[in-house]
Symmetry: C2
Subunit: 190 residues, 2 copies
């Protein structure tokens, strides 16, 4: 089985993902990436013709993995509070892991620098999250309209992204915990 091509592609993506979550899309350097995986920068372009192709591939993969994880949660429990706790933990774990951020959250902040194909994937990530959150919310509030559920879901998604952004900015994960607690106390999160 030919493993070299796939392996090198995967190695580049792994290194790139870590860099983006820590430093953002702009900080991605084909030369540094190449050094990390042991090839030349021109060779990285063989796997990903442009930086936009690499960014889009990262975001797509990130959304896929996130969707799979959330689907697993959905299959495990129908308790809204339990699912929300697991959800908040995902974003917490990024901070716990070397003060990293949600790949698509950090890319949102760099939006105007992103090539169109990367934006598209970032949008899809937000959509996937809102879909999932609306579904979980529908258990807690079965009477609410689809419109209201999605609005509430979007609010939770934005609030959690914001908590991560601010806590990361302060380099203090305790701020994330306190903020999530305040959201719950205020009734924003079930």
């Amino acid at each position: 089985m030919a493993k070299t091509k796939t392996d090198m592609r995967e190695a580049v993506m792994a290194a790139a993902r870590a860099t983006v979550q820590s430093h953002g899309y702009n900080a991605l350097s084909f030369r540094e990436l190449a050094k990390e995986v042991g090839i030349k920068s021109a060779s990285v372009h063989y796997h990903f013709p442009t930086k936009g192709d690499l960014g889009a591939a990262l975001a797509r993969r990130y959304t896929e993995e996130g969707a799979a994880f959330l689907a697993e949660l959905l299959a495990t429990s129908v308790d809204a509070a339990w699912c929300m706790d697991r959800y908040a933990e995902i974003f917490r774990s990024a901070l716990a892991n070397d003060n990293r951020m949600c790949l698509c959250g950090i890319m949102s902040a760099e939006l105007d620098d992103l090539p169109a194909e990367v934006r598209t994937e970032v949008d899809k990530f937000a959509e996937m999250n809102v879909d999932w959150l609306a579904r979980v919310l529908s258990w807690a509030k079965p009477s609410q309209s689809e419109q209201d559920l999605r609005e509430h879901a979007m609010a939770i998604f934005a609030a959690i992204e914001g908590a991560q952004l601010v806590a990361r900015g302060c380099r203090d994960i305790a701020i994330y915990d306190r903020t999530i607690r305040a959201y719950r106390k205020a009734g924003l999160i079930p």
Copy 2:
């Protein structure tokens, strides 16, 4: 009166601020900045020795102007709900103005790329906002402890930054409006 030096410094800062709010700190280019204000890039270094000096100056000025505006609000009314509405409007106006973001919010997302002096100023902006929000909240809930007030204030700050981030990512200001409404409905914002 010698106006050239001050004027050029101000011109550089104005151009730089617009660029950062739209494209982030990383997108700041001394060469493009120089072109915009009609000097050479080496001359920009005369006013701001490094990019970090420029970034820190921008954030400091931004915090000062924000603090002055919020102090004005505080002097105008002691109604918490009214103050919160005005506060949410400030962040809305950045989006309305060409989908721009809070200068310090967008810089938070690029945190690891920021020189230490810029980080310091970004931290001060968050602190200034939390101070103000806690004070406004104390009117609505005089019984709460200082600790609880600050926690709630931090949650509001994070939630609003998040709403701005996500709405900007979707290039849809209506998402900001809906999210703020959901925060209010949930009781996060008075």
